[in-house]
């Protein structure tokens, strides 16, 4: 995209219409839905986060940051934050690493490339909750074939009792589901690396792996950045269904990630003030990730197009 001329408004076509009424009508459906289901609920969460409702819900009182201080000092919330951090970082790192190796290998092979790619993309089509169910079955301590294998090896595998086992299982299921995403973007990125650079390095005597590490990976910098952000978004928000299917946050909160806790406190325990405060905390995380994502978009607009 060419740089906009200074006189022009950004993102406006030079040839455009001046019928504001039509424009408002065109925008109406989107803005109406945003107002009803995005902004008003978000503002209500914000308001509720500062209120304390009495048990009958008849009256509520403005309590400043009490909900937040109560939340941040509660051991369950602290452990939930810790669980989320471990889960998100482990899941992001595993996903990205495996995807890089697979993308490198796919770019290298000639025969069977389409077949490999087709199989590796499959989990994208599978709902997170189904991915969770598949893994929960594989490692079910009573019937699961892989759990049996672990038992045969002398490992007392039981994700229903052992928190670490539960965490490993959730991370495995979440990574299995998400590797394909990173893989697609890396593959597209590798294909976009100019062939002349690769050939020049080859002439200088750099082997395939050295070329990948020294040329391809640095050129994929923005892609890595983007994928890291998207992996965090996925780990923080989209893994609700996996946790619900595999562990329901247990045992004893060992896999109770923040998103799952909001749901539990708000819907199962009906603690509205705390749930709203948790929502606001999550919005803050989402805000940070959105800003990061936007920086990527800006960058890719400046350099790639």
């Amino acid at each position: 995209m060419a740089k906009a001329a200074p006189a022009r408004e950004s993102g406006l076509k030079r040839a455009h219409f001046r019928e504001p009424r039509t424009a408002y009508l065109l925008l109406l459906p989107q803005l109406l839905i945003l107002a009803l289901f995005f902004f008003i609920p978000a503002i209500r969460a914000l308001a509720q986060a500062f209120l304390l409702a009495d048990p009958f819900g008849a009256r509520s009182q403005f309590v400043w940051f009490d909900n937040f201080t109560a939340l941040l000092s509660s051991p369950e919330y602290q452990s939930s934050i810790w669980v989320t951090v471990v889960f998100t970082i482990a899941q992001s790192a595993i996903t990205l690493f495996v995807a890089v190796v697979l993308a490198f290998a796919t770019d290298r092979v000639v025969r069977g490339r389409g077949t490999y790619r087709g199989i590796l993309l499959l989990p994208y089509a599978i709902a997170p909750v189904i991915a969770g169910i598949l893994w929960a079955f594989l490692f079910n301590p009573a019937v699961g074939p892989l759990a049996h294998l672990l038992h045969a090896l002398g490992i007392p595998w039981d994700p229903n009792r052992n928190g670490d086992h539960a965490m490993i299982l959730v991370i495995a299921a979440a990574s299995w589901k998400h590797i394909c995403y990173d893989y697609i973007f890396l593959l597209a990125g590798i294909l976009a690396v100019p062939q002349s650079l690769i050939e020049a390095a080859a002439v200088d005597g750099a082997g395939p792996i050295l070329r990948f590490v020294r040329i391809v990976i640095p050129l994929l910098g923005p892609t890595f950045f983007f994928l890291m952000v998207m992996n965090f978004v996925y780990g923080l928000f989209d893994t609700f269904a996996i946790v619900d299917a595999v562990t329901r946050g247990g045992p004893a909160g060992a896999t109770n990630i923040l998103v799952y806790k909001v749901y539990q406190d708000g819907f199962i325990n009906l603690d509205l003030g705390s749930s709203a405060a948790q929502s606001v905390m999550l919005m803050a995380f989402a805000l940070v990730l959105t800003v990061l994502q936007f920086r990527y978009i800006e960058r890719s607009v400046n350099y790639d197009v």
């Binding site: 040839a15 039509t22 190796v101 993309l121 994208y124 079955f137 395939p208």
Partner: protein, 306 residues
């Protein structure tokens, strides 16, 4: 390929075979478990080869899961989300790229900031919004005290209460999910690449904005629309949290929710053979879409994230 490196190529094939095996492993065992009798599925170790009960289990899963109804629901919801999202995104992208009006940038930012409010973040207030979508109107009525205005006319005190409950309706499952910053952004980026001459020519010919949209912009956008629709269909079909919250009536659930009810819990008969068979059924439509439309699907995914 720049040079021959047979050893590395062999290693690469080995890595890919391993990766593909890892992807297929859970699917393979779902097929195995889904084709066994309930007695066989509880055997330790689980048989390594599929049994002969696949079709019998399929029938059982279909009946037990009420899948005739739930597949219809999922199809309606997935198609509704896809069509709705594409439609309102195109309209708003068209408005913010092709019109000069006062609050153009405000509208753009309003749409864009919705990115930081994913459903998962505002579960409870959104539930309230769906259980009574007329709530904002109610506040307006309360704030303006409309009831009090009417009392002098009749001498009575009125309480006006309006309600629009969308729980257990297709509207409740579809509408809150069709706003989309990413889709709007995708179309905006695409519209910016359409040559200016096309709009100038259309205006010279006296075409109205909507005519220009219908006759020129939409035909040019077909490939973007198709690619995005695939992603959105998968997104709609695989929704979990939303239908979990907003359907209490079993007949309004989606396939994914129905499947979840078939998964054995501690106090249930361990019918993993039925559950696994149902899992394969539930993933079938999106898997077919991804395999059959692979190239479009990759384009849609990469485009819509930029």
């Amino acid at each position: 390929m720049v040079e021959r490196a047979p050893t590395l190529d062999f290693i690469c094939h080995a890595i890919l075979v391993l990766g593909a095996a890892l992807i297929c492993l859970p699917l393979y065992f779902a097929i195995v478990a889904g084709s066994l009798t309930i007695a066989d599925v509880q055997k330790v170790p689980l048989p390594w080869l599929p049994g002969d009960q696949y079709w019998a289990n399929l029938e059982a899963a279909w009946a037990k899961g009420n899948f005739t109804r739930l597949f219809l629901n999922s199809a309606i919801v997935a198609v509704g989300i896809t069509v709705g999202k594409v439609a309102i995104s195109i309209l708003s992208a068209f408005a913010i790229t092709y019109f000069r009006f006062r609050f153009r940038m405000t509208a753009f930012w309003l749409i864009f900031t919705s990115l930081m409010l994913p459903v998962e973040v505002r579960i409870v207030p959104t539930f309230e919004a769906v259980s009574n979508a007329a709530l904002p109107l109610q506040w307006l009525i309360d704030a303006l005290d409309v009831g009090a205005w009417l009392s002098p006319l009749t001498g009575k005190r009125y309480e006006i209460a309006i309600e629009w409950n969308m729980i257990n309706t297709y509207g409740g499952l579809i509408l809150p999910l069709i706003a989309s910053a990413t889709a709007t952004f995708l179309f905006r980026q695409f519209f910016l690449t359409i040559p200016e001459e096309l709009c100038e020519a259309a205006r010279l010919d006296g075409a109205s904005p909507l005519r220009f949209l219908r006759s020129i912009v939409l035909p040019l956008s077909v490939s973007n629309i198709v690619a995005l629709s695939i992603i959105l269909f998968l997104y709609g079909w695989n929704q979990y949290l939303w239908p979990l919250l907003f359907t209490t009536d079993k007949d309004m659930a989606t396939v994914v929710i129905g499947l979840k009810h078939l998964v054995p819990r501690a106090d249930m008969e361990p019918a993993w053979n039925i559950a696994m068979n149902a899992a394969l059924l539930a993933m079938l439509p999106p898997v077919i879409v991804v395999i059959a439309l692979q190239r479009w699907f990759v384009k849609g995914l990469v485009d819509s994230s930029k």
